[in-house]
């Protein structure tokens, strides 16, 4: 279904207001170019991330449900770029729809009766399914010719499948198709949905380093010059914890921005911990 020119509630989440500002900026610029209006959800609250579901079942559903309550009041579907936030919001949406007693429990907790009128969408599904590949192709002024990438989806966008309903839990294709539409050479690889270690990064970086090196090594073996992702936690882990120190990782929205000829693209790429501009310059994709 193509739904051009629509307006969505925008849930940036905490990372996009901090360490992943380039994801926030590139998301907003690319959506504007594609005719999607994003209105930041007023007074949104943290989704609770992995700490919510680890420590407290009430907060696990209650924190993201609070955001869904705000979204229902604004009456628009919610666009979420961060895979971790998306996962928590989907868990709450699913529990409210499917699990016995949750709706009543949330009514007591949040003084609000949920109607189930808004849908939570990840940015990838919004761009691929609601905007469509044809429109993406029509916006390309600088095809990413010569750029060989692998698409890294991570865990939280694709699993649990009965909650996120995204593509395929172990072999997703949506992001591959978006990157192909802007002219990149997308290579097949077996680590599309491997785990980067997520929130273990702050305290157990010994574990995360091993996982990240495995992912980077596999991307190189597939023949890719860079990894493209959609999750701020994945990108941070892949940049911070790689032993190589020079292997580029991009948000897909940054590369869409380059292909659409958006001037701000270079500014986003300069915000990375690992040099991301040299590769693009060597391919004459940035001047």
């Amino acid at each position: 279904m193509t739904d051009n020119g629509a307006t969505y509630s925008y849930y940036p989440g905490c990372s996009l207001h901090g360490t992943s500002r380039e994801y926030d900026a590139s998301t907003q610029a690319v959506c504007a170019e594609l005719g999607i209006e994003l209105k930041e959800l007023s007074d949104w609250v943290c989704c609770g991330a992995s700490s919510g579901h680890s420590l407290d079942e009430t907060l696990n559903i209650g924190l993201p449900a609070h955001t869904l309550k705000l979204a229902e009041k604004e009456g628009m579907d919610v666009a979420v770029p961060c895979a971790a936030c998306y996962n928590r919001l989907k868990v709450a949406e699913h529990a409210l729809q499917e699990k016995e007693g949750v709706r009543e429990q949330m009514k007591d907790l949040l003084d609000y009766e949920f109607q189930g009128t808004v849908q939570v969408l990840n940015l990838v599904e919004l761009i691929k399914d609601r905007v469509g590949l044809e429109k993406i192709r029509s916006k390309v002024v600088k095809p990413l010719t010569g750029l060989k990438v692998v698409c890294y989806y991570g865990c939280l966008l694709v699993r649990p499948a009965e909650v996120t309903h995204f593509d395929d839990p172990e072999h997703p294709r949506s992001l591959d198709e978006i990157m192909e539409a802007v002219g990149a050479e997308v290579l097949n690889w077996s680590y599309k949905t491997e785990c980067c270690g997520g929130s273990l990064s702050l305290t157990r970086d010994d574990i995360v380093k091993g996982l990240v090196d495995g992912i980077v090594d596999m991307a190189k073996e597939a023949g890719a010059q860079a990894i493209v992702t959609l999750c701020p936690l994945c990108l941070e882990n892949l940049e911070m914890r790689q032993s190589d120190g020079t292997y580029p990782v991009f948000y897909f929205t940054e590369l869409l921005g380059v292909a659409f000829g958006l001037k701000e693209s270079e500014h986003w790429l300069k915000k990375h911990l690992v040099d991301s501009t040299s590769l693009m310059k060597s391919l004459r994709l940035l001047s």
Binding site: T19, V45, H53, S54, R159, G198
Partner: protein, 177 residues
Amino acid sequence: MGDTNLLDYVIQKSGQDVLSCYHCQKCAAGCPVAPFMDIQPNVIHRLLQYGRDDEILKSATIWICAACETCGARCPNDIDIAKVNDALKQYAVREGIKGKEKGMPAMHNAFLSGIEKRGRMHEVSLIRELRMKTGGLFKDMKLGIKMFKLGKLPLFSEKVKNMGEIKKLFEKARRAQ
């Protein structure tokens, strides 16, 4: 150890039929962090079936699980094992049981206490609070300075306007535990 049997608590909280596990070990084979666990994921289920609660609740495994859900996607009995681990962590926290893994519970506590104060996570505050508790204040300092210079670590935190509702939510959650 509390007034609830651990097995019943887990089944009730997680909604998962842990007794249906027949130990095919698909979860352990596909788990990306299994090499760092002291008890393999399927063995947690066996211990749960045997009532060896103490070993489970003190294990590093329940905290090391990254909740990537690879196991849940592959389990032939449709057990969402990450959800079982959540119930085990929540039980351990409720009963004040300290296990082998210290860092992750401290991280989760610091994370949630930040949300209770501001409604949003602030990376600098989270790292400061965590390192005060666990030590290693200068760990990752080089990375932090680099990120700060790139404008990726704002020093000032954001706070939601309607903090009254957030406080109420946390108070009600505490009462429900």
